[in-house]
Amino acid sequence: MSGSLLDAIAVVMQPLLLLEMLGGVILGIMFGIIPGLTATLAVVLLIPLTYGMDAISGVAILVGVYIGGISGGLVSAILLGMPGTPSSIATVFDGFPMAKQGRGAKALSMGIFGNLFGTLVSWLFLITLASQLAHLALKFGPFEYVAVIVFGFTTVISLSGDSIPKGVVSCLFGLVVCTIGSDPVIGVTRNTLGLELLESGINAVPAMIGLFVVAEVFRNIASESATIVEDDLKVADKGGITWADVKASGWNLVRSSLIGVAIGMLPGIGGSLANIVAYDQAKKGAKDPETYGTGNVQGVIAPEAANNATIGSALIPMLALGIPGDVVTAALVGGLMLHGLQPGPLLFVDNPDFVYGIYVAFLIGALMMFGVMYLASNSLLPKLLLVPKKYLLPVVLVACSVGCYNLNFSFTDMWMSLVFGFIGFGMATLRFPITPVVISMVLGTTLENQLRLALVSSEGSPIPLFTQPISLLFLVLAVLSVALALRKKKLLAQGSEENG
């Protein structure tokens, strides 16, 4: 066994491959930084270019690209207030306020550290517990999924800002939007309002890009300053990671990474939810939740650790069972099969050197990502704050259109990023919370699918939801989550009454 590991290390640590991986990581980071271009897009676009290579090189580069892509999202989330990828939506909540207070470099450094931590945690799970976790994931049937999704929806309550009723309306709007297009179970077309454009339904990613990026672009147009963040507040602090910072964030890092690992492993939930759930849990578990949203660095660390932690765990069902969970892992499975490899338990037996090669490449990719981003964060990246918005924002709009089109070569997706840009603009102007829409769009179709499947499997009875252990667990967590959120709101209100 150790022979294979050494072989794998030798295969991966070749100068040419390392250089290609570095290039891949940097490319991925760039895709992550530019709002509108996603990490998934980077991987999908690069796949044909890896055909000529052998399997391990191809996969190593793609993994590096993906790690870079997911990690890069925090840059524009913090510096521009626009998430670079949908997995960094929650990073905006505290990251952008930090940039506006001149603490952007700190936010970047800590966020990048969170990236590394999350990636390494999921890497550890991948190399040690892949098989066991994969079989655990199999136990998640329709009822378990419904319970997990209900738990996911509880984040809507605390992320609704000041108005829970408006948050509920936003959430339901997202759910109704999910019903447009094809029914997930039978494939019947519904709610297309007579438009052929809507037959393909509305995909969550273009909608998210529209709501958080395009809308933000429109909101920035009329603002007075020539750059996105005001002149005199730009770079007041120096970045850097101190031991004190790490200690203070310890529990947050671990919890957020675990959330990311769990969500990344369940196909169909959507890794882009991990950052929102992690942020929500960080806020709920904090001693000072009222500071979240005003520039609390923990609010940057939580989503970034979580979103990176989904990367390694998404590989778990793919490698251990041969069952991919999302677009990226499905493409990787395809790539492996093109090279004559069969993902699944046999892979560990027939090609252990390949599996070890992935493990090594993953680790190297993570370290490269950290190195590149950390080096860039002190000098290069804060320069983004200096670019005048008249040059920056049009580029962002073009990138959003291009990025959304390239997801599936669909003009519907391109239109949707614009339409949801208008919707997001309207919502923000009228003070409707936007995050609940995203949560319900990520979860809605899966919820309907799993709910109907659950009822089919139990012949119409909802009882297994409460009797099966895993689903009961998540329902209890959901109830606790809601209770905690409401209690905190009550305490805050009481506190301000007493003080005020």
């Binding site: 055909y51 329709p142 069972l321 041969g322 499975v333 395809g334 790539g335 599936n408 499947l453 089919v456």
Partner: protein, 326 residues
Amino acid sequence: MLKKSFVSMALVAACLVLSACARPGAAGFPTKEIRIIVPYKAGGQSDLAARKIAEISQKQGVFLHPILVVNMSGANTLEGLRAVRDAKPDGYTLLLHHTTMLTMDALGTLNLDWRKAFDMVCQVMEVPYVVSVRSDKPWLSMTEMAEDIKANPGKYIMSVQGVGGSAHFAGLQINQALGITDLVKYMPLTGGNDSAAAMMAGRVDFRPAPSSDVARFFRGGEERVLLFLSDTPSTVYKDAQLANELGIKNPIKMRSGLFTTHGVPADVIKVLQVGMKKIVNTPEFQEFMEAQVVDGVYISGDEWLPLFEADAQNIKGIAKTVNIKQ
């Protein structure tokens, strides 16, 4: 002397004319990249076949320009189909699709007339269906399982990996022949991976699926194949029963191949056919197909059309007997 130079000039001219004829197609087709549109997401079976074709073409220089694979899975394949239907009929836009187009047509969900919208270039592969169960199940043959199902109506669950898809129809055809259509429950799932996961977790008992979906689980020992939906035995699924053993007539097989926009000039199609025939018959393509327990069978467009039509009638027949309204 003059005669000699005249003869040599005539020979040269003849060679030039011949080589121009040999360089095939309208104006030296292809002069740029050819695109194969796959109406499914990346990593799926159609996608892999298209990419293998592209890879072989590039490695062996079959077509002078690269072949590019474009995934357009929107609107349940319809976006990809429409894109090819509306493309310029110059032969540079191809569609890789299969029998599912016929099942959608039978169910009225296709929304376009494939006979008018596309010209058939060629078939590239034939994917037989199988019925597999988890290997810890007691049944060693389809007949055994059918008996168990008849003895315990409503107990066992069949996976439908794509309602209205060709695997669904294969399952219906089998159930009908065995007389168990109303004796099993149906679990509607999305795609081969979903179905494999459900089977591993024990949420479904058996699944009709394309052989390529099942191959790697069969080899890994996780699934046992009870039925090979064909009249000729499989070299891989040695213990599986065959269609004729169970009285299944005209067993459905997935035929997958290339279509192009209607109106592409015949000589351009000829060039495509020559190239694709070469690719399909390479040992590399054949090996790749075998690894998935699928057959790489080239059939040119005009021979393929009647077979495809026959399949369409077969499928319509199945649809009728299950009371499918249009």
